[in-house]
Point group: C2
Chain length 550, copies 2
C-alpha cells in the first residue's frame, strides 16, 4: 500500500536523479561555499566571488544585444558565451532552485557548430541571435528533452519530445542556443513556482519570498544572470507576476503575436482564454530585440494562430495620456506597492504627462470568470494526470479536484458573458477621451501587478485580479521595475481599519516590512490588443523617468 | 391540443402580418402582373417593365461607388436613392421572397436628414457612405427592429432591439441608409434559406434553385439589384454559398477584421469556430469600397475582437502561384462546376500564371469537426428556442435535436485536434514552394464553393466540405462568378460509374441540366489569414480574365 501511495515520489526521485546526473561538477560550488539560508539577498553572490572567470563574469553581465554584437565582431566565441551561461546557470540553480531540464551538452555542440559556421563563412553569423543562449520556461518542447510542467506523470511521458515547439525551432533557426528549461508550478496554474518534482524556486532578491509564477524559474534565473534572455508564458499573469517579483522587464503580448503551437499546455484545448508567450529580461532593449527577431521571421508561416502583423515602428505623442489604478477595491496593495505607484505617478505628472484614474470596470467578475474557464473541464486534465501516479494536489489547487466538467452549453454562456464584459472594458477605455486634457483616449494604464511585493513563501494568496482581466481582454502588457521594499520606508499601515474582505484583511495583516525587505516593487503597463510596440515604447519612457537600479 | 401544437404557426403568422402591414402598396406589383412560377429566370423582369421610373432604374443599376459619387456631386438626392431601392427591394421580394424585416419609414427619415445635412454644409457629405442604402442579413440587430434568425420564438423576443450591432452603428456613422434585413434559414445554420416565419427564398437566376444560405436573402436581393451592397455572415460557407449560387462577388474575411459584436447568433457563445461578417455585391470595386470605409473607421475601437490592422495597399507579383482543386474526393462537383474550374484554369495558364494542384489535406475531418462544434451544446440553444413554441425542426436539422451537450473536457480535445489539423494545412500551404516554378508558396487556392451549381430546392444536400474547412483555418476567402449552367453544354456525365459514397452518388444522379439551366457557376478564392486585401486584388485579376456577364 505504502509503495503505491508513494508512487509519485519514486517517479519524481528517479527524474531528479536523472537530471542531476547531468550537472558538470566542475561548475557547481561545494555545499559549504553556498550562502546559508539566512542570507536572503543573493543578487551579488556570484559576481562577488571567483567561481566564474573574469571573462565569464563579463559575458554574463552583458545584455543579449551586447552578446550577439561581440560574437558578430568575433570578440567572443559562441562556445565561450555558452560555457559562461551554463556555468552561471548551474550556480544560480544552487542558489534558488530555478531549473528543470538541463542540456548543456547539446548547447555546447550547437555552439561549436555555430563557431564553425562563422569561421567557414568569413565571420558571417547564421542569424540575428547567433550564439545567444536563451532560457525557456518548461512548457516549451525541445527535441530530445522531457516537458514535465511540474507534473509527476509527465516525467517520462514522453521521456523525450520528438519535435521542437514552433518558437523553439524559430529560435534555433535564428542562431539561439538552448541550454536549460526552467521550473514552473504544477500544470503552470499558480502564481508561484513549486511542484513535487523540482520543489520550490526562490527569489534571489530575498529568498524568503516566492519567485512568483508560473514563469518563476525563468525570472529567478534571469535575475541571477544565469540567462541573458528568457521566454515565459502567461494565461493569468504568469509572465508578469514573477517578472515583477524579480524586478525584471517583461512583455505579455496579445494572443496571435508570438507562436504557441507545439508547447505543452497544463490545460490543452482551453481557448476561452489563451496562453501567450513573451520575453523576460534584465533590460528593455533586449525584449525589443527578441520581438523584432521573431516577428521579422514571419511566425505566421509556422503557427496557424499567428496574425500576419509585421513589427511596426511607432511614434509616441510627446505627452502621454495615462490612466492609473492604485487599488482595485478587492485587495488593497501593501505599502511598498502603493509607494511604487505614487512614485511613478509623481514622476509622470512632473514630466507633464496627463494622468487620470482608471475605473476597474468588470475587473472582479473577469478575475472570477477566468478561474471558471481554467477549471471548466472539471479540472479533469490536471486531476487525471495526478491521479495516474497518486500525486496529491496542493491545497490551493483544490479547485482542480472538485470542479464540474461543465456542459458546453454552459461554457457558451460564460464565453458570451466574457465578450460583453470585455466590450465594456473597451468602451471604458475609449471613453477616457472625456477625461483627458487633449480629448484623446488614454495610451495605457499603469497599475500594480499584484497587491504584494513578492509574497513570502507559504504566505501565498491566489489572487490574480490585477493581471488576469487583461488576459481575457487580450491586451498587450508589460512590467517594469520601480523600487525595492525598504523596511525603513514601507512601514505597516496601522491606520487602516476597514477591509474589503477576508483576503484583503489577511494580506494587509501578513505584510511584514522586515520579512519583505529587498523584494521587488514593479508595476504593470497595459496597452490595447496587438500594441506590443507601444508597450515597449512607453516602457522606454518609464525606464528613463524611474532610472531604477537594483 | 391542436392549438398548442400550432402555437408556432400563430406567432409566425402574427409576425408576417405585422411585417406585411408595412409595405408601401404603391410599390408592389399586382399579383396578376407577377411572372408565373414557371418563369425561372427573373433577372431582367424589373428592368424590362415600367414598374420603376427611368431614374429609379438608373439608380438601382448603379454601383455603390457610382451612387455615393452622384450624391456627393449632388446629381442625386439621398432621398431619391433610398426611395428607388425601397421600391425595387419590394418588387424583388415579390419575385423571390428575400426580405425579413422592412423599415422603409426609418430609411426615408434618415435620407431626408442626410439631404438636409448636405444642404446645410455646402454639399459636404457626412461620410463616405452618405446616402448609400445597405441591406443587412437578418442577424444584425437594428435599433427598433426585431431579429428573428428565422426562429419563431424570436419573433417578438424582443419585439425590438434597443441597440444597433457594432457594424450597423458604424455604417450609420459613415452615412449608410438601413432599410431592410434579409431572410435566413433557421438559426442560420443551413446552406439554404428557409424557415417557418418567412418561408423559402428563391434564386432569381433560376427560381427552381435554392438561393443558398445562410445569407440567401442578401444574395437574392442583391442579384435583383434591390440592394447595391449587402452584408452577410459566414461560419461554414454562409456568405460564399449564396453568393456563388447567385454569381455575386463576396468576401469572407478572417475573424477579427470586421466587427461582429452585438449581432444575434444562432449559436451564441460558440467560439471553437467564429462567425464573420463580410460584404456581398454585384461588383468587386464595391466590396473594396466597403472594406476600406469600415476599416478606415478603426473598428477595433468598438469591437474587442477586432485586430488593429489598417487596410493595406498590396502589390501582387506579375505571375501568380495558384493551387487548384477540382474535386475534394468526397463529393465530385457536377459538370457545370467542373467546366467552371477548367475554364478558369485554362485562362490562368494562358495568362502565364503558375498552376499546381491543391491537396485537400484534412478537409474531410475538418468538415465533420465543424459540425461537431456547431452542435457541441447538444443543439440545446436552437432546440430550446424551438421547443418553447413547439416549432418543429426541419428533418436536415435533426442533429440539433439529438446531439449531446458535450462535457468541456471533450470540447478541449476537439479544439486541440482542430489546431493540429489546421497547422498541417498551413504546413501544406508553405510546402507548395517545392512545387512552384519560382520556389515561392502559392498565393491562393481556387476551388469550387459547392459541388453543385445552385442546388434545386428540395434536392438539398447539407455538404459544406468545400467551404467549412477554411472557416476552421480562418482563411480569407472570396467568391467570383464564372459562368451559368447551360443545358446544352453541361450534360449529365453518363460515363461515371464509381462514386465516393451515397451522397456523391445522389448528387451526381440528381443533377439535371434542364432543371439547373441558368444557375450560377461561381468559384472560391482562398488566401491566408487576414489577407483580405490580397483576396480582392486577385479577384480583380480573375474578373479581368473571365470577363463574366450575366
Amino acid at each position: 500500500m505504502t509503495v503505491i501511495k508513494e508512487k509519485y515520489k519514486e517517479i519524481a526521485n528517479k527524474k531528479r536523479l536523472e537530471r542531476d546526473s547531468k550537472w558538470n561538477l566542475d561548475w557547481l560550488i561545494p555545499e559549504s561555499n553556498l550562502p546559508s539560508r539566512e542570507i536572503k539577498d543573493v543578487l551579488n553572490f556570484i559576481d562577488s566571488h571567483s567561481f566564474l572567470t573574469p571573462l565569464e563574469i563579463e559575458i554574463t553581465n552583458s545584455s543579449a544585444i551586447e552578446i550577439v554584437t561581440n560574437i558578430q565582431k568575433q570578440k567572443w566565441k559562441s562556445l565561450q558565451v555558452t560555457l559562461a551561461f551554463c556555468h552561471r546557470a548551474s550556480i544560480s540553480h544552487q542558489l534558488c532552485n530555478n531549473l528543470s531540464e538541463i542540456f548543456f551538452d547539446k548547447a555546447i555542440e550547437t555552439a561549436k557548430e555555430l563557431d564553425d559556421y562563422q569561421l567557414k563563412n568569413n565571420g558571417k553569423t547564421i542569424g540575428p541571435l547567433h550564439g545567444l543562449p536563451v532560457s525557456l520556461k518548461d512548457n516549451f518542447n525541445v527535441k530530445g528533452q522531457a516537458t514535465t510542467l511540474g507534473m509527476v506523470n509527465f516525467c517520462f511521458n514522453p521521456e523525450k519530445f520528438e519535435e521542437d515547439s514552433v518558437l523553439v525551432s524559430m529560435l534555433r533557426n535564428l542562431g539561439a542556443i538552448l541550454y536549460v528549461k526552467t521550473n514552473v508550478p504544477v500544470a503552470m496554474m499558480l502564481p508561484e513556482t513549486k511542484n513535487h518534482i523540482w520543489g520550490v524556486t526562490l527569489n534571489p532578491m530575498n529568498r524568503l519570498l516566492s519567485a512568483g509564477g508560473s514563469s518563476g524559474g525563468e525570472a529567478s534565473l534571469i535575475k541571477l544572470k544565469g540567462s541573458p534572455l528568457g521566454i515565459g508564458s502567461d494565461i493569468g499573469g504568469s509572465i508578469r507576476i514573477p517578472s515583477s517579483f524579480q524586478n525584471l522587464y517583461s512583455l505579455k503580448p496579445s494572443f496571435g503575436r508570438f507562436p504557441t503551437f507545439g508547447t505543452r499546455s497544463g490545460l490543452p484545448g482551453l481557448e476561452s482564454v489563451n496562453s501567450v508567450n513573451g520575453p523576460i529580461g534584465n533590460n528593455l532593449q533586449d525584449l525589443k530585440f527578441f520581438c523584432e527577431s521573431i516577428i521579422n521571421s514571419e511566425p505566421w508561416n509556422y503557427d496557424p494562430k499567428i496574425v500576419e502583423l509585421p513589427w511596426r515602428n511607432i511614434k509616441l505623442p510627446e505627452k502621454l495620456n495615462l490612466a492609473v489604478l492604485i487599488d482595485d477595491g478587492i485587495i488593497q496593495p501593501t505599502p511598498p506597492i502603493r509607494r511604487g505607484m505614487e512614485l511613478v505617478i509623481n514622476k509622470l505628472k512632473t514630466a507633464g504627462h496627463d494622468i487620470i484614474e482608471w475605473e476597474p470596470i468588470n475587473h472582479y467578475r473577469l478575475s472570477t470568470l477566468i478561474t471558471e474557464f481554467f477549471t471548466s473541464d472539471g479540472g479533469k486534465h490536471v486531476l487525471n494526470e495526478t491521479l495516474e501516479v497518486n500525486e496529491p494536489l496542493f491545497p490551493y489547487m483544490s479547485n482542480y479536484g472538485n470542479s464540474k466538467d461543465l456542459p458546453v452549453s454552459k461554457l457558451w454562456k460564460l464565453q458570451n458573458e466574457r465578450t460583453i464584459l470585455i466590450k465594456q472594458v473597451l468602451d471604458n477605455w475609449i471613453q477616457t477621451s472625456k477625461k483627458t486634457k487633449n480629448g484623446k483616449p488614454i495610451d495605457a494604464i499603469i497599475m500594480p501587478v499584484t497587491p504584494f511585493a513578492g509574497n513570502p513563501i507559504d504566505k501565498f494568496y491566489n489572487y490574480v485580479g490585477y493581471t488576469s482581466p487583461f488576459n481575457l481582454c487580450d491586451f498587450s502588457t508589460g512590467t517594469f521595475p520601480v523600487s525595492r521594499v525598504d523596511s525603513n520606508i514601507d512601514k505597516k499601515d496601522l491606520s487602516r481599519n476597514e477591509y474589503y474582505n477576508d483576503t484583503d484583511f489577511n494580506i494587509s495583516q501578513d505584510y511584514d516590512p522586515i520579512e519583505s525587505h529587498g523584494g521587488g516593487v514593479s508595476l504593470q503597463l497595459i496597452c490595447r490588443r496587438f500594441q506590443e510596440e507601444k508597450v515597449l515604447k512607453i516602457l522606454e519612457v518609464l525606464e528613463k523617468l524611474i532610472d531604477y537600479k537594483d
